[in-house]
């Protein structure tokens, strides 16, 4: 009958509310609630697993967590600016844009979360090697986003000429929403895609072949794919809460490393709760395996990405700071709290590549 397969205790938010109620007696931090935003997406695995396992709540004690799920970076930045969320998991490109477009006033990156998980997958019938790209159509998720810039940079390195803003050139760069890319691939509108997980693995299930893992073009095979950001106002007023969240994040990353299968199941469960569908194993397994969850924001790669974007003409410097060459991301990081947390756990500090708080 109706609702016969409904879950016992229903969704995760009910869980967290209950948890908050039970632990309300405990010590309280400076804020009653903290509003956390993330995507129901594997690259946001830290948030998914940490919330699912209650690792954030444990650190936050009596402070309640309210979650908000987004499916696009800009919306999350807008929500952060509006005060609808305080802390968010987000990709590097929206974080850079949000920071520069607000003249460095709206947000700070306070930690890293994930690296890797981006691949160039292609239709093997039309592209068999990296030298076949000329004249082909390659999808990226969005003009000027991390993958788009990476592809343009890669193509430039290979000597292809592509007009960044229109995507026309030796290789056609087709910007399609990640949700539509598999459809476009099936339909034959694109011959390949430079996309993050799980879209890359999804395309593989449709017959595509992995041509390149983005890791391979980066030194150390690491580049940032997810950051933790906080609204500067919240950071000023409730640094204890931010610290607690960071503790939760570090714990979660450790948990993921220690229990990869449990973590994978948790992440998939969280996705299912949020959107009603779980990922099939064929997509989940390779995708999860390709993502590294780490606390280091890989600040150097962020600067490199920004520089590539500036080179491609896809990132303009804010009018106020258009002095020097290269993207001016000074002050985008505030890693003091993260380093404090890491120190408390006996781990070494992470570097901000000179982009720390002035």
């Amino acid at each position: 009958g109706y609702g016969s397969k409904a879950e016992g205790t229903s969704s995760g938010d009910a869980n967290s509310t209950a948890a908050a109620g039970s632990s309300a007696a405990g010590g309280k931090l400076s804020a009653d609630t903290v509003k956390i935003g993330y995507f129901a997406n594997l690259t946001h695995g830290t948030a998914l697993v940490g919330l699912q396992e209650g690792l954030f709540q444990k650190e936050l004690d009596g402070t309640r967590i309210r979650t908000q799920v987004f499916n696009a970076g800009p919306a999350e930045i807008e929500a952060l600016n509006a005060g609808s969320i305080d802390i968010g998991w987000i990709g590097p490109s929206p974080a850079i844009n949000g920071y520069t477009k607000s003249d460095g006033k709206s947000l700070k990156i306070i930690g890293g979360s994930a690296s890797g998980g981006v691949k160039l997958v292609v239709n093997p019938d039309r592209i068999s090697s990296l030298d076949d790209l000329r004249g082909k159509k390659i999808a990226t998720p969005q003009l000027g986003n991390t993958q788009d810039v990476a592809l343009l940079n890669y193509l430039a390195g290979k000597g292809y000429k592509v007009d960044a803003s229109s995507g026309a050139g030796d290789v056609s760069v087709v910007r399609t929403d990640n949700k539509v890319t598999p459809d476009a691939y099936k339909q034959g509108s694109v011959d390949g895609a430079w996309v993050p997980e799980p879209t890359a693995s999804k395309l593989v299930t449709l017959g595509a072949k992995v041509l390149l893992d983005e890791k391979d073009v980066w030194p150390d095979k690491k580049f940032v794919i997810t950051n933790i950001i906080v609204s500067q106002k919240f950071l000023r007023e409730h640094s204890d809460v931010v610290e607690a969240v960071l503790r939760g994040s570090v714990d979660t990353n450790a948990f993921i490393k220690a229990n990869p299968d449990k973590a994978k199941a948790d992440a998939n469960e969280a996705i299912r709760k949020e959107s009603g569908n779980a990922l099939e194993p064929a997509v989940l397994d390779p995708a999860w395996a390709d993502i590294d969850f780490l606390d280091d924001p890989l600040a150097g790669t962020l600067q490199a990405e920004a520089d590539h974007a500036v080179t491609a003409g896809l990132l303009k410097l804010p009018r106020s700071s258009s002095a020097g060459a290269g993207a001016n991301l000074n002050g985008i990081y505030d890693l003091t709290l993260l380093n404090k947390v890491l120190a408390a756990k006996g781990q070494g500090p992470v570097a901000d590549a000179g982009l720390g708080t002035r």
Binding site: S4, A6, D13, V69, N71, A75, E78, A82, E274, G276
Partner: protein, 301 residues
């Protein structure tokens, strides 16, 4: 020559005059002035055609599926969609999903009516206002709701008021424009008659202008509902939060994210279903009453 009416004569001439079949069909239906009919008749006339329509669509769909016109992930079978619906049913979320959206859509729509009606009245009747904001209203109407979303989120945050803001920005211009169009079509004779019997100012609006413009206003309301509903769907796409609940737009978007075509189709079917249900339960009866009362229904028969 033993016909019971003149139509056969006329038809012959007409058919000769313009040979188009559609024309003849239209015309033949013109002249039927149906008698009031029994309940069974009514059911047969009103319930049967939509049902047949639906069945035909499903049959075509199943046919396309069975003939393997395209791969099943492009076009799932009706049964697949039915299974998706069953899943929702057993999870007990089906009604809450529909209700979340319908409630928000309806309340936003009512608010839009309350706001849009006076605006429409003033724009239609006060010349300078019309030249000043008439085109702006039309411009607003053609502004996609998604365009408002960033602004609405920044100003209002992610909460119900953001949703309502987006709905209002979509529906108010549409309702106001509908009223303006309705008022423009009111024969001036009625307005003058109203004025001579003393229906001026607000009384005039209430007793003459609005009733006289009602058919056009209703059309505007229908479009306004469409805009409300579409804007709501757009607003739901932006973010989901436990406070906001899971609505149809969100459901559709989730299915899309998973490239779950049968889920996407289920979402489309559910949204269509709500649209049609609102049309049949709210607008059609009101519209029929309005038209019948004015003797305009003859045109439909």
């Amino acid at each position: 020559m033993a016909s019971t009416d003149t139509t056969p004569f006329l038809d012959k001439r007409e058919a000769a005059a313009d040979t188009a079949d559609v024309g003849a069909g239209l015309d033949a239906l013109d002249s039927v002035s149906a008698q009031r009919s029994s309940l069974g008749e009514v059911l047969r006339q009103k319930a049967l055609p939509p049902l047949i329509g639906v069945l035909v669509v499903i049959a075509l769909w199943q046919g396309a599926y069975s003939l393997h016109l395209t791969s099943s992930y492009k076009l799932p079978s009706p049964a697949d969609v039915w299974h998706s619906a069953q899943d929702l049913w057993y999870q007990g979320t089906l009604f809450s999903i529909i209700w979340t959206s319908v409630w928000r859509g309806l309340s936003g729509f009512l608010l839009a009516v309350v706001i849009g009606t006076p605006i429409g009245l003033v724009v239609a009747r006060v010349r300078p206002v019309r030249t000043a904001i008439g085109p702006v209203l039309q411009g607003l109407q053609s502004l996609p709701s998604v365009a408002w979303v960033p602004a609405a989120v920044i100003w209002l945050g992610i909460n119900d008021s953001m949703m309502y803001a987006v709905i209002l920005l979509g529906a108010v211009p549409s309702i106001a424009n509908g009223l303006v169009a309705g008022i423009d079509q009111v024969p001036p004779l009625f307005l003058r008659a109203g004025r001579t019997i003393g229906a001026t100012g607000l009384a005039g609006a209430r007793h003459v202008l609005i009733p006289a413009a009602l058919p056009g206003y209703l059309a505007g309301l229908k479009q306004g509902w469409a805009f409300s509903w579409r804007s709501l769907m757009a607003a739901e796409l932006v973010a989901s939060s436990p406070d906001l609940g899971l609505g149809l737009g969100r459901y559709l978007e989730n299915q899309r994210e998973f490239s779950d075509m049968s889920g996407v189709l289920l979402g489309i079917v559910l949204i269509l279903f709500v649209g049609i249900a609102i049309e049949l339960l709210v607008f059609t009866p009101v519209e029929r009453r309005v038209l019948r009362n004015r003797g305009l229904l003859a045109a439909v028969k």
